[in-house]
């Protein structure tokens, strides 16, 4: 009953979550329970397949359980962070169950065998033994991705504005863009090798291309769809072309631009593996390929999880930026 009430409260997300029942977060307790279960199963049952981090994984899940236990009484004092935690309560419960089941099916029963599947403790083992190399890979990938993505969306945005604004530009540019758009990144590899002075530049180009093309297409569409009467209004008020582009066309197209940037973000991550095929020595994409070649799938999963988390974090940042810039849309959408 009180859980049901809490559900509705946390669902709306804004109300205060002070409950009459001494402020106990029931989902927090349940999450502590499922995490404890995962810990106990890991520690208690014998391993059929050894992965080398049974003890540490049991410890990590136990710590998780203790944290949820502590949170279940204190979460209501944590303000907005607390509300976010409460909102994701059901997820924490299921996550504990998932960890327990995953561990049992792989390490404890062996139904999902090595090397294709790895239990969570296998991933933990990777993080514990290979963390230094993973950190270096993250740094290398970060450099490549940062250079590629930002130059890509910059050029894509500028090109998109030109394509959407100028008829002559669109006449030559649009067909080219439509031809280039669907070409898979790997198809570029031969000519990038020839054009660019180093493989690093070629990799940057591939990332930039993947992120720039959706930005260019959506920006062009956004600029060319701007309501004509906005231009008329601005022109009667004395606006020149510069004003029309920067103060009318671009702000009006910005919602579209953001859709393009979101797509570019996903594409740029997808293309990282290909980009790091080009003779890279480090990088998450390189790490994935290297470990796939050696059937070290636990390492592959471990790196994939890192990439997914980084991508999710960047998407979140982008949402914050969008809400800042496009606050005016709130009442319209």
């Amino acid at each position: 009953m009180s859980a049901a009430i809490e559900e509705t409260f946390s669902g709306t997300g804004r109300q205060s979550v002070t409950l009459p029942l001494a402020g106990i977060w029931r989902n927090g307790l349940l999450a502590a329970g499922t995490w404890l279960l995962a810990s106990a199963l890991t520690y208690g049952l014998p391993d059929v397949i050894t992965w080398g981090a049974t003890g540490p994984f049991a410890a990590v899940t136990l710590v998780g359980a203790l944290i949820f236990l502590a949170l279940s009484v204190t979460v209501h004092r944590l303000g907005s962070t607390g509300r976010t935690l409460v909102h994701y309560g059901p997820w924490f419960i299921v996550l504990g169950l998932w960890l327990a089941a995953w561990e049992v099916l792989t390490a404890k029963l062996g139904w999902l065998p090595k090397p294709f599947f790895s239990p969570p403790e296998g991933l933990l083992h990777v993080y514990m033994t290979d963390w230094d190399r993973l950190l270096i890979c993250i740094a290398y990938t970060g450099r490549l991705w940062g250079l590629g993505f930002f130059s890509g969306i910059f050029v894509g945005f500028a090109g998109g504005v030109a394509l959407g604004w100028s008829k002559r530009f669109a006449y030559w540019g649009m067909p080219l863009l439509k031809l280039i758009g669907p070409v898979p990144a790997s198809a570029w590899i031969p000519c990038t090798f020839f054009i660019f002075p180093s493989t690093f530049h070629a990799s940057i180009f591939l990332v930039a291309l993947a992120s720039g093309i959706p930005v260019a297409i959506l920006t062009a569409a956004g600029v060319s769809q701007v309501n004509r009467s906005f231009y008329d209004v601005a022109r009667t008020l004395g606006a020149d072309n510069r004003f029309l582009i920067f103060k009318v066309a671009i702000p009006a197209a910005l919602p579209n631009v953001f859709v393009g940037i979101f797509m570019g973000l996903y594409y740029s991550f997808a293309v990282l593996v290909v980009a790091e095929m080009l003779g890279a020595k480090f990088g998450l994409g390189w790490y994935l390929q290297f470990n796939t070649a050696y059937s070290a799938y636990a390492n592959v999963y471990a790196a994939l999880i890192i990439m997914a988390l980084i991508c999710a974090g960047l998407v979140r940042l982008l949402f914050v930026a969008r809400d800042r810039l496009l606050g005016w849309q709130k009442g319209i959408l």
Binding site: D232, L237, P251, A252
Partner: protein
């Protein structure tokens, strides 16, 4: 309120001439004749109202005067000079408010000053005109937070802040409730008297035309030509129930093809 405007006002007025103006739109497979040989001379400082059936070309006439379009035939000139393009001396208030949704009311009103690089010296005018159209409490609202009437008033403020010499108004009060409309009519009249600009008002409201204008022009169905012209000499403030205005109204309605007892 008109006092505040008079103090700040630097506006003058211009003469507007349509000489044998015809206009057509080229559509994909045909052309649409919209204006047919319209000649109209408007004196500096005069207030002229345009009446006509909907779709006859009234908005088109205003677009030509604003310089947003060039006539297919004939010429439009200001003070004897041909109008070649838009100029903030001649400002068109559009039928729809067309506020920029990403700008607040204040930022919308500021567009004209920004575009001409006058924002620093004339920023105070923004507050003045916002007060004038009674939106001073809404300066930081976004257009989607305004009612239709408020949006229309914001659009009017956006024009007035530039101290136009010719104000072209395309059914500016069409969307207002009747009380706000009466108030805005009076305010427009006060403004016109104190600032002295030339005004060309498109309206579908016969009474509005008679209350405000020095001269009422009646246009025919598309392609529009001038079918009647009527001078209103009554001094301001005019009363709706003034016998002479009622007589003029009856004759106007007859010209428009509507019988007296409507």
């Amino acid at each position: 309120m008109s006092v505040a405007f008079a103090e700040a006002s630097v506006a003058g007025s211009i003469a507007l001439d349509f000489e044998g103006v015809s206009h057509r739109y080229d559509l994909d497979d045909k052309t649409l004749e919209v204006l047919d040989n319209v000649s109209l001379a408007i004196e500096p400082g005069e207030f002229v109202a345009l009446l006509g059936p909907s779709g006859c070309g009234k908005s088109t006439l205003l677009r030509l005067a604003a310089g947003l379009e060039a006539p297919t035939a004939g010429s439009v000139s200001e003070d004897g000079q041909p109008i070649l393009g838009p100029n903030p001396d001649r400002i068109l208030v559009f039928q729809d408010a067309t506020l920029f949704p990403w700008r607040t009311v204040r930022a919308n009103v500021a567009i004209g000053l920004e575009a001409r690089g006058l924002i620093c010296e004339r920023e105070y005018r923004i507050d003045e005109v916002l007060k004038l159209v009674k939106l001073d409490g809404f300066a930081d609202f976004y257009p989607h937070q305004l009612s239709g009437g408020m949006a229309q008033r914001a659009a009017l403020a956006r024009a007035l802040v530039n101290d136009p010499k010719l104000l072209l108004l395309d059914e500016p009060f069409g969307k207002l409730d009747s009380l706000t409309r009466l108030r805005m009519q009076k305010e427009l009249l006060d403004l016109w008297k104190s600032a002295g600009f030339t005004a060309l008002l498109v309206t579908h409201d016969v009474e509005e035309a008679l209350l405000l204008a020095d001269r009422v022009i009646v246009l025919s169905d598309r392609p529009a030509s001038i079918v009647a012209e009527l001078r209103v000499d009554q001094p301001h403030p005019r009363r709706r129930d003034d016998a002479k205005l009622i007589a003029l109204r009856a004759s106007l309605l007859e010209t428009l093809g509507i019988s007296h007892d409507v």
